[in-house]
């Protein structure tokens, strides 16, 4: 594909275009390849751009032009047009507003035939008003696309030049209007007019009833001279109707009204070819008086054409405008709102009723809905729209409208507060990084905060007893490092050194006859440790697995070899990066960990063994390490919190509060530590992001996030490909990077022996450690902590 240098591929520019569209519309739109577009959206084949309201689909590459600049400009015009639909309100068509316009009185008959039970969008209903719905569609898109492009050119004068080039090029290869049957010819003429967006001012003055704003100068050539002389009056009237939407204040409603008018004009013509003798009678008397009549939608009585009318054929698509189907976009938007409502009501425990749904949908779609449970809705959310229609339709009928008020309130919340999180329900939404598109999926994950309650703190007491020696050692070691802290305290009565500014002030004070301050010393701080740390615990199902380690004394030779270096440090299997990270801030003299027993780094991540003697699961070791850590931290006085996370799917990320920053290591917190148990998946991104929120709220000077895990991030829908870990790894990488951007020190400790494969990239360098002997975690964790927070 990439054969010539000027080719621009979507992958190279998708993030750029994405940001561009976000800036243009204020909406978090994604950019994807047209190949990924949902089937039901694709009308005209895969190469034409389109949008579903959330994503803009563009061709994989563009190589039309000789330079990269031009090819990129082409992309930009495509994207800008699709974004323009959103920017200028194409999807906001409201049939109730449209239908109020007098011109639609002419469509009453047809309107009566519309099936009120059908589940349709405003657009569907709109097109149903027209007997010849394809003709109406073609007219509508010519007009509405013209309006959108007009607004684009007006707002973006720089882009207008690029648009003009693309538009001109798109005229080539279109049928000559004069070669088509009557109706098609006029539609084609209108389409051409709409593509160029330029109307000859002088002739419009003659034919226009309403004054309007011109967007350009006289363009003689735009008048379609291929049309026979006799059709020109009609054509000019069409031009006049179209010109009304070329205005800053015109909306999609105006396009809809203009569509009806043009339709009425064309509907009065049979679709015969130009050679037909009908032409003479058809165009006779399209003078002024008659045109008034036609304006009000009264079709003129006409003689029967002598030649057979041809079936109307759809207008040729305009490539750069693409093939967006607004009726489906409206449905998509409705579903989006529905999903959100489902989520919201799940949290508040209320039932999703008919009323709720109907109110919800009235804003976006005309849907007659009947009873449907939240669960059914949630299940349909992954289906194609057509299927949803089916489900909805099936459910029409029986309903008992109960808690109206409560649900109405709920609805308001769901639809109004799209971007806001509900504090009270303790549900939070987080963006997720999609490396495939190079942008965030906004509000992708729904995280629920759960406070884990436990029954007994017996396990913790037992650990405290068993690990009493270690706890004491860690405490001592923390005390030893405290004087090394760099923070200076000024204004002391005595101290290590004199602080110059204060000393000068004191001298001056004495001269001035004041009692000078004696507080002119400074020293390194002991008290002003201002540290907050989150211990974030992976509670995935795999933490249930047993760990088998060979006893230390048997470790004459390491099982996996290459452990000579680890022998130096006892518990660590350190690669260069993690070693330095773990040792950071320590002089070599106090490098060996407390209670370090040199030994081989023999370990085994062996799984699925039956519990051997003194066997421990990953989770038990995590618990042990946390208890040791907590005990030591209580004596140091640093702020810390302990959270666990798991969940299943992006809608169900669970965040367990074991100990919050504001809590002491109380009896209750101990019970909670006792209660941690293996859960489900490992979606790390949202858990990290949520922990970050908590950290930031502490307002401490030094913030650290320590992630304890036993494997790579994983969840059933963590990325489009279940079998690939890349998506989850990328999201986690980005989440950790976000944290570091906010000046939080991040560190990952894992017992996953394969961790070296991915942790370097995930943790952004050296901020990780693979623990070879999981049972050593309680000793290692305090060292990590010390290294991070000094």
């Amino acid at each position: 594909m990439d054969k010539s240098p000027p080719t621009v591929r979507l992958a190279e520019v998708s993030r750029l275009l994405q940001l561009y569209c976000a800036a243009a519309t204020g909406k978090p739109l994604r950019i994807r390849s047209t190949e990924e577009a949902p089937r039901e959206f694709v009308r005209e084949g895969h190469h034409l751009p389109l949008t579903d309201g959330k994503t803009i689909y563009l061709p994989n590459f563009i190589e039309k032009h000789l330079s990269r600049e031009e090819n990129f400009a082409e992309y930009k015009v495509y994207a800008a047009h699709q974004a323009g639909y959103i920017e200028f309100g194409t999807f906001e068509l409201d049939i109730d507003v449209v239908i109020d316009h007098p011109v639609f009185s002419a469509f009453e008959e047809q309107a009566a035939t519309v099936d009120p039970e059908a589940i349709v969008s405003h657009y569907d209903l709109f097109f149903m008003l027209f007997k010849e719905s394809q003709l109406a569609r073609d007219i509508f898109f010519a007009i509405e696309d013209g309006r959108v492009d007009y607004r684009l050119r007006e707002m973006y004068r720089g882009l207008a030049a690029d648009m003009e080039k693309v538009a001109r090029a798109s005229l080539e290869g279109r049928a000559v209007a004069g070669s088509l049957p009557l109706r098609e010819a006029l539609v084609e003429a209108l389409t051409r007019l709409s593509i160029t967006g330029k109307i000859d001012e002088s002739f419009l003055e003659k034919f226009m009833v309403v004054p309007m704003r011109m967007n350009s100068h006289l363009q003689r050539e735009e008048i379609d001279e291929s049309l026979p002389e006799k059709l020109l009056p009609l054509y000019r009237r069409i031009c006049g109707l179209f010109a009304r939407v070329l205005s800053h204040s015109a909306t999609v409603t105006d396009s809809a009204v203009a569509t009806a008018r043009v339709y009425l004009l064309l509907g009065s013509l049979p679709n015969v070819s130009f050679g037909s003798p009908f032409l003479d009678s058809a165009t006779r008397g399209t003078g002024h008086a008659e045109s008034e009549r036609m304006q009000h939608g009264i079709p003129a009585g006409r003689g029967v054409p002598e030649s057979e009318p041809l079936p109307y054929r759809a207008s040729q698509p305009v490539a750069f405008r693409g093939q967006t189907r607004p009726e489906l976009v409206q449905l998509e938007n409705a579903i989006e709102l529905l999903k959100e409502a489902v989520v919201t009501q799940e949290d508040s425990g209320a039932a999703l009723t008919h009323d709720l749904l109907e109110m919800l949908l009235k804003r976006v779609v005309k849907i007659k809905i009947s009873q449907m449970t939240a669960k059914e809705l949630a299940e349909t959310s992954g289906l194609f729209i057509t299927d949803l229609r089916g489900v909805l339709q099936e459910k029409i009928g029986e309903l008992s409208p109960d808690a109206r008020k409560r649900l109405a309130k709920l609805l308001d919340r769901a639809s109004v507060a799209k971007g806001k999180t509900e504090d009270s329900s303790r549900v939070f939404f987080y963006d997720e990084w999609d490396y495939l598109s190079g942008d965030y999926r906004p509000r992708w994950c729904r995280l629920r905060e759960i406070s884990l309650e436990g029954e007994s703190s017996a396990i913790v007491s037992q650990i405290q007893k068993e690990q009493a020696a270690l706890i004491a050692a860690v405490r001592r070691s923390f005390q030893r490092i405290r004087p090394e802290m760099l923070r200076k305290v000024k204004r002391l009565r005595s101290g290590e050194e004199i602080e110059l500014n204060d000393a000068i002030e004191a001298v001056l004070d004495r001269r001035a006859g004041l009692t000078p301050s004696e507080r002119v010393y400074q020293k390194r701080d002991r008290r002003m440790r201002d540290v907050a740390t989150v211990f974030l615990l992976d509670l995935s199902a795999s933490t249930d697995e047993w760990i088998v380690e060979e006893p230390l004394h048997e470790s004459g030779g390491p099982r996996h070899g290459g452990a000579s270096r680890s022998a130096l440090f006892g518990y660590f299997s350190l690669d260069a990066g993690s070693e330095r990270a773990a040792m950071r801030g320590n002089t070599p003299a106090n490098s060996p960990p407390n209670g370090a027993t040199p030994g081989g780094a023999v370990s085994s991540g062996a799984r699925d063994f039956s519990p051997p003697d003194r066997a421990m699961r990953v989770i038990d070791i995590e618990r042990e390490a946390l208890v040791v850590m907590a005990e030591a931290l209580e004596s140091l006085g640093d702020m810390y919190a302990i959270y666990g996370f798991s969940g299943y799917g992006r809608e169900n990320v669970e965040f367990f509060v074991i100990k919050d920053f504001s809590e002491k290591f109380s009896e209750r917190a101990r019970r909670r530590i006792g209660a941690i148990k293996p859960q489900k998946s490992t979606r790390m991104g949202p858990a990290i992001r949520h922990a970050m929120q908590k950290l930031v709220a502490t307002d401490c000077r030094l913030k650290a996030l320590i992630l304890l895990s036993d494997g790579y991030p994983q969840d059933y829908d963590y990325g489009p490909d279940r079998t690939s870990r890349d998506y989850g790894l990328h999201d986690t990488t980005v989440a950790l990077r976000e944290a570091r951007k906010k000046k939080v020190h991040t560190f990952c400790v894992t017992v996953d022996q394969a961790g070296n494969d991915y942790l370097r990239a995930m943790c952004g360098g050296e901020n990780y450690l693979v623990v070879k002997r999981p049972s050593a975690l309680p000793k290692i964790l305090p060292r990590v902590y010390r290294g991070l927070t000094i």
Partner: protein
């Protein structure tokens, strides 16, 4: 923000500015901030101006200080001839301490002389004291702010063992940008609880266009385009851009245009490159610039 922070002045580093206005500072009211300020001043309630950098907070205070003083002069409460400075602004930074604000003794030959700090001056002469980015200052400054910001309206001058009762026209105004340093420093609640808060944000497009036109001298069309660019670029705040683009920067772009730099180039320099180091965001902003401006 940092333009006037530190200036050499008589051997003393000057970190504040005493404003005298030759004419009315230009300020375009956006909402009801003028009325609120007036009401707050009437009741002598201290004010907190919240908002991103470069959105008009300082200019607003300048305007209010000038206007209120002019009214006093017109009503004969203040004499035309010996006007004192109606506004003293202090750009706070992390080394700014209480004595910087209150004053200190300095050596003059063998003598020591007391020099009032900006806050003391404002308290004495009855000026509005504007402490810009207050969270940046050292914590000991809160000791001064609190008694000044409640009903007592007194300034403790520890060195001299004095308490100064604030002049009746004194008003304390502080500013705070909740955006950019929120993760590091937040305004303490005990401080916050003493101030009426006015929210500031970048002006809406039309107002901003007028401001840009006035301040930079570009024509109406260019100023509209600049304001449009501002609106679009600020939408990238959710996509990795830390702060939007300030009105100030848009004015700079306008000034570059007035001095003959092509529009696109001026915006590239003053906007795209100024606000971000993220290459893709910079590119996206540049594309937006190319879309909006013809040349």
């Amino acid at each position: 923000m940092a333009e006037k922070d530190v200036e050499k002045f008589g051997g003393v580093e000057r970190f504040f500015e005493e404003h005298f206005f030759a004419e009315e500072p230009y300020y375009l009211p956006i909402r009801d901030e003028v009325e609120i300020f007036r009401a707050a001043f009437l009741m002598r309630l201290p004010l907190l101006l919240k908002g991103p950098t470069g959105c008009g907070k300082t200019r607003f205070v300048e305007y209010m200080a000038y206007t209120l003083q002019q009214e006093r002069i017109r009503q004969g409460h203040e004499s035309q001839d010996e006007v004192s400075s109606p506004l003293i602004t202090v750009a706070c930074h992390e080394d700014l301490s209480a004595s910087d604000l209150v004053g200190r003794y300095l050596l003059k030959g063998e003598e020591t002389v007391w020099i009032d700090g900006p806050l003391t001056r404002a308290v004495k002469v009855g000026a509005i004291c504007y402490l810009d980015e207050i969270v940046e200052a050292r914590k000991d400054t809160t000791v001064l702010i609190h008694p000044l910001a409640d009903y007592r309206r007194i300034l403790p001058v520890e060195k001299k063992g004095q308490m100064i009762q604030a002049h009746e026209n004194f008003l304390l105004v502080i500013s705070y940008n909740p955006g950019y340093q929120s993760s590091l420093k937040n305004l303490k609640h005990s401080t916050r609880q003493r101030f009426i808060a006015i929210d500031f944000d970048y002006p809406p497009r039309e107002a901003e266009a007028r401001i840009i036109a006035h301040e930079s001298g570009v024509d109406a069309r260019a100023s509209e385009e600049l304001a449009l660019l501002g609106e679009k670029v600020r939408r990238l705040r959710d996509h990795g851009l830390e702060e939007g683009v300030s009105t100030r920067l848009l004015i700079y772009a306008g000034k570059l245009m007035v001095s003959g730099i092509a529009s696109r180039r001026a915006c590239e320099l003053a906007v795209a490159k100024a606000i971000t180091d993220d290459h893709e965001i910079e590119r996206a902003v540049e594309e937006m610039i190319r879309s909006i401006f013809e040349k």
